[in-house]
Symmetry: C2
Subunit: 218 residues, 2 copies
């Protein structure tokens, strides 16, 4: 039995440890969870006793195999629910996260499987993030930040790095969505802004925007 709070910690540890495989620090966990380091330490001990993380005092934590599977299961549910909210109910992509944070904790294997089937086995959520399958495998997609694309190249928007409501609303405002064709017209060295052509409309976007859009080159 994994509690709701434990699930949230596991998810956070998973996301923090996703790229570099080094161990995750207590402070980093506390910061992401918007709690205090002492609370994180308490929870880490509990997760360690349950065999969900490997922990050495002062050296941070890493998910164990069971912990990894538990984290992925929660992320799977989160993303499936986000697809449901956008595709079946009329939520927009900036409204789904908060509700999915609640729905991801519903415990029913059958529900998850039936929901997945009802949604026709989606492979990614409304923000372009991959949906793990029922075995915990995460489909890999090669994507890069728009900021890395060279001048003159054409690409297609496949995801967002920042999925905050503010950023998503900014994208909506300028009709930038998953699937949008983007051509890099020019890049400004000074402030790392870039001029791009999106949906045949030319626009200059800031470094902040270019560093939070994932694209795939054609």
């Amino acid at each position: 039995m994994v509690t709701l709070s434990e699930e949230n910690y596991l998810k956070t540890i998973f996301h923090l440890g996703r790229h570099d495989k080094a161990s995750v620090s207590t402070n980093a966990i506390a910061q992401k969870m918007e709690t205090k380091a002492s609370s994180a330490t308490d929870m880490i001990k509990k997760l360690s006793e349950k065999g969900l993380v490997d922990y050495q005092k002062y050296k941070g934590v890493q998910l164990s195999e069971n912990g990894r599977l538990a984290a992925i299961s929660v992320i799977r549910k989160h993303r499936l629910w986000e697809v449901f909210l956008v595709n079946k109910l009329s939520f927009s992509w900036d409204e789904v996260h908060e509700v999915a944070e609640q729905l991801e904790h519903i415990k029913s294997e059958k529900l998850t499987l039936e929901l997945e089937s009802f949604l026709d086995y989606p492979t990614q959520d409304p923000h372009g993030d991959p949906i793990p399958d029922s075995n915990g495998s995460i489909p890999s997609t090669q994507k890069l930040l728009l900021a890395k694309v060279k001048q003159g190249h054409q690409c297609i928007c496949v995801g967002v790095k920042d999925s905050s409501s503010e950023f998503l609303k900014y994208l909506d405002k300028y009709k930038i969505a998953l699937g949008s064709q983007i051509k890099v017209i020019s890049k400004e060295a000074y402030d790392e802004s870039m001029t791009v052509k999106i949906n045949d409309i030319q626009k200059t976007i800031s470094k902040e925007v270019a560093q939070n859009l994932f694209v795939k080159t054609n």
Copy 2:
């Protein structure tokens, strides 16, 4: 802010006080909640302080207007989710309750409204129970127990009083469902069993069954 546990107590008090408008006893609440009377007393005090129930020591509780609305909101969500599980995912009516017990606590007004719309504004759940509307009004349906129907009369099954998995599976086994036509052939005074014709098949059912099926006479 009403906690998950408070919501469950409110729901229980609502159901216990549904028919007789007398106040609900501590013991009755504790029993339904599968907890101890002392725990119920603690919670009652908390609900009373929040203005959700009217409470006098040793005299039991009654829901206040706010408490009633909070309880109905939870029941509304419970029943809408049950409809979703049966109509959209392939759950059977004996599998939905446990999952709905979790889903009923998801807090999102928009989710509830969109779900209701997605389901085409159902007025009853898979067990024949009415679904409150967004204002908290509960559609009333005149129904009576099959046990009360006189010999020779024809009626139609419109709900179950006991919605336990065991009873629902029994009904499935004999192809008794909402909408089934039932004619009372004869009644046995000794054990209150009755012989009925359901879907053109004659069958004798026990008092237990007849007292847990709601019907509407034609």
